[in-house]
Subunit: 221 residues, 2 copies
């Protein structure tokens, strides 16, 4: 609305990506251009551009003369993406601990608390966005901006949290607890602990105490 082509199109891509991530469009849904231009009040051309960009990002798939549909990742892909995230985010831990300051910890506590509050009072979408906010704040402690970009893209490409990961209330609450554990590990400058928690958090697996610290990705499938 403000300027001409790029910010509009870019935010349209972001909006659509967020809606897909948040589960507004479930995997397999055919995205009809007419519906999209009404929903986002955008022009046909902008919708098509956004669709193309999302196809490049692998969020949707394009079938010529048929349309675009939301791409459902199979388990193998989802698992592989999680493994890549684990590699990158655990590799970022050292630099995060090197660079963290007290204000960062305060911010993170606020964001983690906000997420926990929204488990009770908020909508799924609010929870989703609060979760993203926490993780972005955490990740940007890493000075490597490109690493942050790659992880952000991977998170967007992975299966949407509300749809597939937060299946139960208990699982969401567990995520909230893990956020706080991460902050504690950060405050204690305990890189090993942070890596362990992050790995379990991303993989959505139970924290195994006997697990090795280093997150070797070994067999990925």
């Amino acid at each position: 609305m403000t300027s001409k082509t790029d910010p509009v199109s870019e935010s349209l891509v972001d909006m659509m990506a967020r809606d897909i991530q948040a589960g507004v469009f479930t995997p397999g849904t055919w995205l009809k251009q007419i519906d999209l231009e009404k929903r986002y009040s955008a022009t046909r051309m902008d919708v098509r551009r956004a669709l193309d960009q999302l196809a490049l990002k692998r969020l949707v798939r394009h079938v010529p003369n048929k349309g675009y549909h939301v791409h459902a990742l199979d388990d193998r892909q989802a698992s592989e993406i999680r493994d890549v995230r684990v590699i990158l985010e655990t590799a970022a831990v050292d630099s995060m601990i090197d660079n963290i300051r007290d204000t960062d910890l305060e911010d993170l506590r606020k964001l983690a608390t906000r997420f926990n509050d929204l488990i009770l009072t908020g909508t799924i979408l609010e929870q989703y966005e609060a979760n993203i906010a926490f993780h972005m704040r955490l990740l940007t402690l890493c000075p490597n901006q490109e690493l942050v970009n790659v992880v952000t893209e991977l998170r967007g490409r992975g299966p949407s949290a509300p749809a597939s990961q937060w299946k139960t209330r208990a699982r969401v609450e567990q995520s909230g607890r893990e956020h706080l554990m991460m902050i504690d590990a950060l405050e204690a400058r305990d890189a090993s602990a942070l890596r362990r928690i992050l790995t379990a958090h991303i993989r959505q697996t139970a924290l195994a105490e006997s697990l090795e610290v280093q997150p070797s990705q070994r067999k990925s499938g």
Copy 2:
């Protein structure tokens, strides 16, 4: 190549990306749509779509009402991208060694030899493509397809090898030697050595013998 729009557009993106990587369009060059549609004999619309996709990939930058120009990465970004590649490719080493077979080693030797031959007889573009072929063959030993995708994308986003990395003949020859060293390390199942060579190869730094084995990314800037 069979159906209508997508493969055409996709290959156009690939062609333009390769030309940018190979240094046909130097950083800063304004990509005029008319020239592009003549060079690739594509329609105006396909050119614009490809340009948009390349902008999303950060290979070109878009200035509204002015056009698209080849994006020159600053040193910090280039260094950060290299660091991310080091993290991912060294993390892949274990699974590569787990999965390697004799035919893989043979293929790699052929590709490495081909690269070395082309140092003398081939054009820059041939060298560039032979190098890519070797690295892709090596990387796809890793069973994590998504990791391969991310690294491939990162390689395409980084500074083009002919333009900025292979400044001297000596440097190219050193790269060729390092390829062979990687194969030797693979054959010996020596993960540490392979990680060390890979790190130096990606960062284009001299192999420091006293360097620690584990490639901590620490300070990235």
